[in-house]
């Protein structure tokens, strides 16, 4: 089985099958570029991802592993009707996978899925963060993201006035 070494920003190396890695658009391109530039067709490609740390890369690979037999969705799937495929693609496994995560980690996963071009993962992580913001009050968002208000003086009031101008005009 052909393998590829994927290295995180903090230097952790993951050895995965090329078949699995190629389910990421970005890794697929990198493997092909390596092929073209290497004389030895047997050589094992090594890909360094400078923007993703080990903890996050491990989660992406774990998700890919679970979904390795899913059909690959074209990047523009369901673009026309605007619904996206998150609902239809999200399994119980996905829900359990995301449930224990801190929202900060989910946001890092969004960036990683976007960078590595893993559409299915990008969809479900975006949906999760969107659901914590859309239709929520300021206080509900603060609770979901474990944040406290740190506005000083009349900053909060001023921000509200700026927002109101945008809403009413």
């Amino acid at each position: 089985m052909a393998l590829v070494r994927v290295i995180s920003s903090d230097g952790a190396a993951f050895l995965v099958s090329q078949r699995l890695a190629k389910r990421s658009g970005k890794l697929k391109t990198e493997i092909e570029t390596f092929r073209k530039s290497s004389d030895n067709s047997e050589a094992q490609p090594e890909i360094r991802i400078v923007t993703i740390r080990a903890e996050i890369l491990r989660l992406v690979l774990q998700w890919l592993q679970q979904h390795q037999n899913d059909p690959v969705l074209p990047a523009n799937q369901n673009e026309q009707d605007g619904r996206g495929d998150a609902e239809m693609g999200q399994s119980q496994w996905d829900r359990d996978f995301l449930a224990p995560m801190d929202l900060g980690i989910v946001m890092e996963l969004i960036l990683a899925a976007n960078h590595l071009e893993v559409k299915g993962l990008l969809d479900i992580t975006c949906k999760l963060v969107e659901s914590k913001i859309t239709g929520r009050t300021v206080d509900e968002i603060r609770t979901a993201f474990k944040l406290k208000s740190d506005f000083k003086g009349n900053e909060e009031e001023q921000t509200r006035l700026e927002n109101r101008w945008c809403v009413e005009n």
Partner: protein, 491 residues
């Protein structure tokens, strides 16, 4: 890594062992001002910092994540009220979208979420339109100041997108005074300014063109308005209403103030008059990197402006859009010494294969993106020439190697007519010589509901001609909205 414990008040945080040692709250202060990308790197460095930043970081990441999310206007605005960090993140995203250059990229790069985000952004941006054709829906500078508050810290930006639209002519002294006051208070926050000549002419008899009244537009306020936006990066002029206006109080370049950050000038929607664009170009041309020429009154075609004049006026130009111009201006484009990286050519009625090749040849060493919206006519003397022998006719005209290579070209967008391989055979024969490194090819239609499709044989032929081409995209125009009709990837 071991660390010293300190109580920062919000819980127990530790600092890494650094020399000199800094307590966690100091690190937190330092990190607060870091850009989101750097913050991400910091948290990857050590566990102590990661924990310290866990909540701050979440909303700093929002700056990177926000454009990918499918959020409506209300949700985006609500985030601003959550915390200082969240507000900062949202504002950075909005202002960078607000001053984004005229984007060359195609919509296929955006997901549906990103597109919805951009439309929410557009709704927010509309709040800063102070020049509307219809006075009833126009936002007034006075009500903006009343409602957002005049007594603000000068450092706080009240224009979320830093992109505002104001009139050049005012209906009364009071409306001008209010605008002047608003810009005096907040004008230094504006990065992107549209100035609209509001031509509100009521014509009793629309059929009778001779009776059209010329709208009289005074430019007398322009220098004062520009003086109040000293940090401007992009400046756009447009005129609305009938294409028939008369500029009075003509503007001289030396009346215009210094705008050291200005890099983009657009007259794309400016009709009829060349004197104002010309004066503005004379004043700021030396610093401009992007210029969109006027649609109906190209500055390029001015007789007084020859190749040397253009070279001197715009020495740093990198990106150019020409909407339409007379045939007499085409040789200028083929001879200026600009190092253009992006060129958009919209509709030249009278141009020929020779003009096209001469223009591409002139920018061959620097072009990265090229968009040709027009179709190309054969030169008159080739009217009788059949398409299949046009190739020979071109060779005869240019010598043995008519086309220079355009080695840096990555993206090429052509009028869908070019997909008729037979008819444009003279072009595709040269494709490899010219566009050997091309990665993305777009066929675009500019007519409404043009249902022309691209046949498989053409696609196969083009992929064969261009070995580095990754994909071909075909766009259609449906009710003015661009839709991706077809996408072909190399197998």
């Amino acid at each position: 890594m071991s660390g010293n414990s300190k109580d920062s008040g919000n819980g127990t945080f530790t600092s890494p062992n650094t020399h000199p040692y800094l307590p966690p709250e100091i690190w937190a202060k330092i990190f607060r001002d870091l850009p989101a990308h750097d913050l991400l790197s910091v948290t990857a460095t050590c566990l102590e910092w990661k924990e310290l930043l866990s909540s701050d970081r979440t909303f700093a990441l929002l700056e990177l994540v926000l454009p990918l999310l499918n959020l409506n206007k209300h949700a985006i605005l609500t985030c601003r009220e959550v915390s200082r960090g969240a507000k900062k993140s949202v504002d950075i995203v909005l202002e960078s979208l607000g001053t984004e250059e005229y984007n060359y990229t195609y919509e296929h790069q955006d997901s549906i979420g990103e597109r919805n985000f951009k439309s929410a952004f557009q709704q927010i941006n509309n709040a800063y339109c102070f020049s509307n054709f219809f006075p009833v829906v126009r936002n007034s500078a006075q009500s903006f100041m009343n409602r957002v508050g005049e007594n603000r810290n000068r450092k706080d930006n009240p224009f979320l997108t830093r992109n505002i639209d104001i009139p050049i002519n005012f209906e009364s002294d009071a409306t001008f005074t209010a605008m002047e006051r608003m810009l005096t208070l907040f004008g230094h926050h504006v990065w992107d300014l549209s100035i609209t000549a509001d031509i509100n002419v009521i014509n009793e008899d629309e059929e009778d063109e001779d009776n059209w009244v010329r709208a009289v537009i005074s430019t007398i306020k322009l220098p004062r308005l520009l003086q109040l936006v000293p940090n401007l990066k992009n400046l756009r002029f447009s005129s609305s209403g009938p294409e028939n206006m008369l500029l009075v109080g003509g503007i001289r370049p030396n009346q215009l103030p210094e705008l050291p950050n200005l890099v983009t000038l657009s007259f794309e929607d400016w009709f009829d008059d060349q004197s104002l664009p010309f004066a503005v170009l004379c004043r700021y041309g030396h610093q401009i990197t992007r210029w969109n020429d006027c649609q109906n009154s190209s500055v390029l075609q001015l007789d007084d402006l020859a190749v040397d004049g253009l070279n001197n006026m715009l020495p740093s130009l990198k990106k150019l859009q020409v909407s339409s111009t007379l045939a007499s201006a085409l040789p200028k484009l083929a001879n200026v010494n600009w190092k253009l990286e992006e060129l958009t050519i919209e509709s030249f009625y009278q141009w020929t294969t020779k003009d096209l090749l001469n223009i591409i040849n002139n920018f061959s060493q620097t072009l990265i993106k090229l968009k040709i919206k027009a179709t190309v006519n054969y030169p008159e003397r080739w009217d009788t020439v059949k398409p299949e022998s046009l190739f020979d006719a071109i060779s005869e005209l240019f010598g043995s190697s008519p086309c220079k290579a355009v080695p840096k070209l990555q993206v090429l967008s052509l009028n869908v007519a070019f997909a008729e391989i037979e008819e444009y055979n003279w072009f595709w024969k040269y494709a490899y010589t010219m566009f050997g490194h091309l990665r993305e090819l777009h066929f675009d239609t500019f007519l409404w509901s043009d249902e022309r499709s691209i046949n498989e044989l053409s696609v196969e032929y083009i992929f064969q001609k261009l070995p580095n081409l990754e994909r071909i995209m075909h766009w259609t125009n449906f009710n003015g909205e661009k839709l991706l009709h077809d996408m072909f990837a190399r197998d």
